[in-house]
């Protein structure tokens, strides 16, 4: 019984999501290997070898894997899976894109977005936008799983796994990378931040998000948004928190000008402390907020900034 964890990375840095995934995997009490698929990704392999509780790092380093497209990476993972009983990846857009393809190639189900490990074959996962938690038993001999990283702490980084190259190359003639537009921000990533301040439609426009950014700077916080704010073009899509955006669980989540639709709550209701700032005292967000302030955000935000 052994576990293959797929590393989340950008060819240079191992992403923190991998650490949460390894921690989830470690609850199965089986030897863990990490697979790094990429191009010129040796630095990632070294970072992965330091993750606590990992025995081996397999590195498939080839130009064919540069953008980690699903068509060939899934074939590689499915091939390597013959030596493992579990294939586990973070529930990021990369994991969500690739792993179901692996599961289908292996003719097994995928258990998506687990939030708890009950036993070797039984897992808990949210359904219906987190309004119910399903306990699911896998009947397959091989288990393909994605992990909701916000539900697991990060593994440590005091390990010393051996690094083994993997020379298997699957070409991909079906799909081709064209371009990428990645958000650059000095702030922490949403899924790794301990404090998040998010704005909704109530922010009025994109410029007004600078009011949130000033508060975020004081708190070392990440800035998020509701779907309405993203749809209205105030901010880019990678800032969306919710059922279909990012799922976060920081120590502190401050919702500003967000009504609190179930789809938004699905992405943030597991935060430790929730603050809601909204001028409508009936807004549903107040039903889950530890601290609510009924007020105009345009008055609150500058004052908040000055008091921090």
């Amino acid at each position: 019984m052994a576990i293959l964890v797929i590393a989340e990375h950008d060819n240079q840095q191992l992403k923190p999501a991998t650490l949460n995934t390894v921690n989830a995997a470690s609850q199965l009490n089986q030897p863990i290997s990490i697979l790094v698929i990429g191009s010129d990704c040796q630095a990632v392999a070294e970072q992965a070898s330091a993750v606590s509780g990992v025995d081996t790092v397999l590195v498939a380093d080839n130009a064919a894997y540069q953008h980690q497209l699903a068509e060939n990476t899934a074939k590689l993972i499915a091939e390597l899976a013959s030596d493992f009983d579990y294939v586990i990846a973070a529930g990021t857009t990369t994991g969500k894109n690739t792993l179901p393809r692996v599961a289908a190639l292996l003719d097994v189900a995928q258990i998506s977005d687990i939030v708890a490990v009950k036993s070797a074959d039984t897992f808990v996962r949210p359904i219906y936008a987190g309004n119910a938690l399903a306990t699911i038993q896998s009947l397959d001999s091989k288990k393909v799983i994605t992990v909701r990283t916000s539900a697991f702490d990060a593994a440590g980084t005091d390990g010393s796994a051996t690094i083994t190259p993997c020379g298997l190359v699957h070409a991909n003639a079906q799909s081709e990378f064209v371009s990428e537009e990645l958000a650059v921000s000095e702030r922490p990533e949403l899924t790794a931040a301990s404090v998040i301040i998010s704005g909704g439609r109530g922010m009025g426009n994109g410029e007004n998000f600078s009011l949130l950014e000033k508060v975020a700077d004081k708190l070392g916080a990440a800035v998020g948004a509701s779907r309405a704010a993203v749809d209205a073009g105030f901010v880019p899509n990678d800032m969306q928190v919710g059922q279909t955006g990012k799922i976060v669980a920081p120590d502190l989540y401050i919702a500003v000008g967000i009504s609190g639709a179930i789809q938004h709550q699905a992405g943030m209701k597991d935060s430790k402390v929730i603050v809601a700032i909204n001028k409508d005292e009936e807004a549903p967000i107040f039903q889950i907020a530890d601290y609510g302030l009924v007020a105009d955000l345009f008055e609150v935000l500058p004052e908040l900034e000055s008091l921090l």
Partner: protein, 249 residues
């Protein structure tokens, strides 16, 4: 070119579900059902391709009980040309749905398959990727822009760090994200017309697929409930509470 679109019948997105008291499943009795929002976006995208003269025929497919005909009729009213119901209520987990859809794809030979990225009941986010694997087709998930050229489709995808653009050879599978388009409403005349459009029903047997269970649902629980906390009167009080009571800043 032929475009195949999948639609799933799910709970209406505005409805807050309840777990059955015996914890066996969620309670769907008398709950309003609808087309999965991401599938509506998929239908809309196909209709726009037809309006641009790129798509020649739109076939919608659903896997489910006979009541899913309702959602297929909705898709027909939005502009699809004909519908296929794969009537199956047992073992409709994603892998099995993908296996049934793979047979339909084999029969229909579409150039493009458009699906939702996720069904808002299971929140699985996997059927499209599985279908792509079974048909050995390229995939572009979480699409926010789709443009079709001769033998390829260029898709902008919403990924965690921002946006990524891929070019796929046709036939290909695309799954929709929310910002791909805003679906239209069906007009009354189109709803009437949809009643006469062809809707075929097939069974897994007809398709030659035998399904087995890969997972078992052991139970469903309500999530831990959060209760409303306190209302603070001022920003100063809020900052004080966060510092000294919650100790999070």
């Amino acid at each position: 070119m032929k475009v195949l679109v999948t639609v799933k019948r799910v709970i209406d997105y505005n409805v807050k579900i309840r777990v059955k008291p015996d914890g066996s499943d969620v309670d769907l009795t008398n709950v309003k059902m609808a087309v999965n929002p991401f599938c509506e976006i998929a239908v809309e995208e196909a209709v726009r391709l037809k309006e641009k003269g790129i798509a020649s025929e739109i076939v919608v497919v659903s896997v489910g009980g006979s009541e899913a005909q309702e959602q297929l009729r909705t898709a027909l009213a939005l502009g699809a040309d004909r519908a296929i119901l794969v009537e199956s209520t047992a073992n409709t987990e994603s892998l099995n749905v993908a296996k049934l859809l793979a047979k339909v794809v084999e029969q229909e030979q579409p150039s493009l398959v458009i699906m939702g990225k996720q069904a808002i009941d299971s929140d699985n986010n996997q059927t499209g990727q599985m279908l792509a694997a079974l048909c050995d087709m390229p995939q572009a998930t979480f699409a926010s822009e789709v443009s079709v050229a001769d033998n390829s489709v260029t898709v902008t995808r919403e990924i965690d760090g921002g946006l990524q653009t891929l070019s796929l050879q046709l036939p290909a599978i695309v799954t929709t994200d929310l910002r791909l388009n805003e679906p239209r409403y069906a007009s009354l005349p189109n709803i009437m017309k949809a009643k006469c459009k062809p809707l075929a029903t097939v069974t897994p047997d007809d398709l030659g697929v035998t399904l087995s269970a890969h997972t078992q649902l052991l139970g469903v629980n309500p999530p831990p409930q959060r209760s409303a906390g306190v209302k603070v009167k001022s920003v100063a009080e809020l900052v004080d509470k966060l510092k000294n009571e919650a100790k999070v800043i």
